[in-house]
Amino acid sequence: MVRAQAMNQPVAREKKARKSIPIWVKGLVLPLFIIVIWQIVSSSGVVSATVLPSPLQIIITFYNLIVSGVLFSHLQISIYRAVVGFLLGASIALVLGFVVGFSKHSESYIDPTMQMLRTIPSLAVTPLFILWFGFDELSKILLIAFASFFPVYVNTYNGIRSVDSKLFEVAQVLEFSKWKQLTRLILPSALSHILVGIRLSIGIAWLSLVVAELMGSSAGIGYMIMDARQFSQTDKVFVGIIIFGVVGKLTDSLVRILEKKLLKWRTNFEGVE
């Protein structure tokens, strides 16, 4: 019995080795398949290029937009809006989350209002923002700030509240000063929550950027898409969509890397499991 098992093992491992195609390769199979079919359909001329440009054509347009510098200038303004809006919303949220997290008093004054505002979709306040701040930069940045505020606020507040009371007791026994309690207990403990909030917030900031730019602007990736639509430049629309996807994914990965670095103790924990 024992021997049979021992002999079986290498065989099983070999089987596994032969089968183990990396996951990211598996994930590429479907998109590649679709692109190939798409190219064949487009080349055969069944569908007109204004409805569905071929992948090759999109790549050429992409290349041209990069070389001419048009894409870069649009991307620059878009990123500027997203970053400023996010920083504004997230930093106010961080401060308010701390205040409400620390003091029960301010919680009862501030939190109910926040919970109410939180349920309002940012799309619903867009008309109001346009009325108040017009079509220029301010309304866009404020809209993004508004949307990216809530995830950071809620998670910061929760993070501070979820500090283990048993560890608080330890801090008491060890005579931590108020300052050390903050820096060595509350902040590290809340950090994982805060980072989750920041990641959600960046995602939402990016989403709101699209809304803000589609509602009317004279520059930015969103504008580029709207402009291309008017002239039926479908390939350019595709380039815009791809850019939104790629940049969104990139920033998310960036925060993940940051998370791994800052929460080394936790990723190590997951590693053990």
């Binding site: 048993k166 560890l167 007791e169 330890v170 801090a171 008491q172 026994v173 060890l174 005579e175 931590f176 000063s177 050390k180 060595r184 207990l185 590290p188 403990s189 950090l191 929460l263 080394k264 103790w265 936790r266 190590n268 924990f269 053990v272």
Partner: protein, 255 residues
């Protein structure tokens, strides 16, 4: 120089009722002594230790450590909880330093020395999730000791560990106690642990918690659990312990 415990009464409000948990608990631990306290589950051992630590101040009576009344928790009364309670985001050495800075030469030296004493060399940079339960508890002990407590209070510190690790840590604890000549009070429900470690063993009776008997263990360290003199003390403690148990049956508490 000693720890003087004088608890006249300690009660908890449970729903509408007031339940008396400790009743006239009077203990004096001389400097450098190692008192172990055993008693059935729920007799108020943890409550007693928390009062001594200053974590619980709602009781009748007073606790003095070296003639200073204990009114709040602090480093003078080092406390080891049943769970290690390390900060998961700090490495072993950071946990030992806790609120102190490792960049401080003095602290650095003390931490290194302490790591040597609790035998954790090579694990300074490990996180709590990467070390075993026994090692974690040693870190917790080091964290308390580096602050030079006047008394070290341990609440079933080895309760969650396997028999081998527990034996090992008991030896480590005796080693530390002898080296540092520190006053210790350890709570346990393990009779052998109480006798193996303590210079004195207090047997606590339940409902309400009260000192049934204080047994002096006049044996030298390290103690051989199989020796006749050890067995003799064990018999004595066991008899007293059984009295507290039968007391529980008479009171209709049972298990």
């Amino acid at each position: 120089m000693s720890v003087q415990i004088q608890i006249d009464e300690k009660s908890f409000q449970i729903e509408q009722e007031r339940k008396r948990v400790l009743d006239e608990v009077k203990l004096t631990v001389k400097k450098g002594d190692f008192l172990t306290i055993i008693g059935p589950s729920g007799c108020g051992k943890s409550t007693l230790l928390k009062i001594v630590a200053g974590l619980d101040t709602e009781y009748q009576g007073a606790v003095h450590v070296n003639d200073r009344q204990v009114v709040k928790p602090g480093i003078a009364q080092g406390f080891i909880f049943q769970e290690h309670r390390l900060f998961p985001w700090m490495t072993v050495e950071q946990n030992i330093a806790a609120d102190l800075s490792l960049k401080d030469q003095d602290v650095r030296q003390k931490v290194d020395e302490m790591i040597e004493i609790v035998r954790l060399k090579g694990y300074e940079k490990a996180y709590p999730s990467e070390i075993s339960g026994g090692m974690s508890q040693r870190v917790a002990i080091a964290r308390a000791l580096i602050r030079d407590p006047e008394v070290l209070l341990l609440d079933e510190p080895f309760g969650a560990l396997d028999a081998f690790t527990r034996q090992h840590l008991q030896d480590v604890l005796i080693d530390i106690w002898q080296r540092k000549n520190i006053t210790m009070i350890l709570v346990t429900h393990d009779i052998d642990e109480a006798i193996y470690l303590g210079t004195d063993v207090a047997i606590l009776r339940a409902n309400p918690g009260h000192i049934q008997k204080l047994v002096h263990v006049g044996l030298s360290y390290p103690r051989a659990k199989t020796s006749p003199s050890y067995q003799q003390v064990r018999q004595q403690v066991l008899q007293e312990f059984e009295k507290t148990e039968s007391q529980r049956y008479i009171d209709g508490e049972g298990i």
